[in-house]
Symmetry: C2
Amino acid sequence: MKVKLASNYGFCFGVKRAIKIAEDYENSATMGPLIHNQDEINRLKNDFNVGLYNNLSDVKDHDTVIIRTHGIPKNDLKHLRTLNAKIINATCPFVTTPQQIVKKMSSEGYSILIFGDSDHPEVKGVQSYAENQDDVHIVLEPTDLENIIFKNNKIATVAQTTKKKEKYLEIVNYLILKNKEVRVFNTICDATFENQDAARELSKEVDIMIVIGGKNSSNTKQLHSICLENCSNSYLIENETELENSWFLNKKLCGVTAGASTPDWIIQQVVDKIESFS
Amino acid sequence: MKVKLASNYGFCFGVKRAIKIAEDYENSATMGPLIHNQDEINRLKNDFNVGLYNNLSDVKDHDTVIIRTHGIPKNDLKHLRTLNAKIINATCPFVTTPQQIVKKMSSEGYSILIFGDSDHPEVKGVQSYAENQDDVHIVLEPTDLENIIFKNNKIATVAQTTKKKEKYLEIVNYLILKNKEVRVFNTICDATFENQDAARELSKEVDIMIVIGGKNSSNTKQLHSICLENCSNSYLIENETELENSWFLNKKLCGVTAGASTPDWIIQQVVDKIESFS
């Protein structure tokens, strides 16, 4: 089976940076999964003895603890600092930015609106930086705004780095029509969209698309949904073991893309296996 | 001829306020026309001896000078203050707001974008408050933004009070996609749109519409253009002397609306004359 890779795919700047940091700190542990990719987390464990803590109570004296790419809530970081542990911050700088914006805007008396998934660790982290927790609101849709009562008519907005700009504009427009001032910070990261644009183009010219990435990764799921729009034979897999020969029957060209947390070595294994199919 | 008035029309808050101020200062003079209505200016002259200065050099010692509703450029105000004259500020508070926003945002290092007519006195006044005159830009259309080079990727925007919100959103959306921060101040005044909505509704149910207002008034011209969309027999007049009997031949119901600078006594004269037509 012939394979064509998307013109942009895989690791973004923040993920490359976090992995490099983890490799530099052997025998450390990350606070929460470093990135949304179990295979890469396993590799860091096997090759660099980088462990995984899921709770603050896991941290022991003299541990080296790495803050993951998506960041952690402010109070968790504060608590970590009270422990006798070395803290290495691998939060993506593009995530640190909205955290700091929310902190500053909230302290200046702005109501805060975050466009994102309230369950996502990045959003939880960003939200935690608001000084007034009663006046920070998270929405996914413009209609979610209807039930929100802001304390001010001065609103500051940030977006989860992986969200779609078009939807952010819809949300912002709703706010502008109802408030005196809306301070719009465009915190959406282009890397995600470069991968998406490339996936969109490629999915138009192939008869099967393989999207490689974590099944709980929001940017990988978005890639998959974009590919499905153009190519009904689009599959989301985490690694090459999930590939099924039957998918490729009577197909001519297979497109491959990968989420922002998918390492090159996994992509290579997937490509090798697809090429081995007749 | 039967007449129906729009549910909202005529003077806005800022104009009512300016006229009250002028009536309170007999024997004064306004710096530029107080409002966009020659008949009301004549009435103030006849009844209260309120004159009109078109140039700063017209101001004489001990004059009382009234700043008009649309405001004047900062340096003109500064110059006035050096003269031996009493200054009464009748600038609409809704116009003072964008002036002060532009001043503050410019001093904080924001590039300034004004949505409005660069020839309009309100816009000229607002623009003049930017501390950095090289980095204040005026547009009417999103496409006008293509050729602008902002000095910063932090932009603050205001709109001329009488502009359309939909177009403002288009302009703001363009900016959000290309800049880190866009600080959107919604300085558009609702009074204009209440008159417009009422004119739109009324123009759908009549067979002739009369729009009363200054022919150089931007909000009156917009009312006229909205009426024309629904009623091809829509006429813009400044007072009852312009009415022509022939317009009303074979018509059944005449709608009447008036721009934000049109006084009630002029509207009444127009209504009386239309009702006298058979």
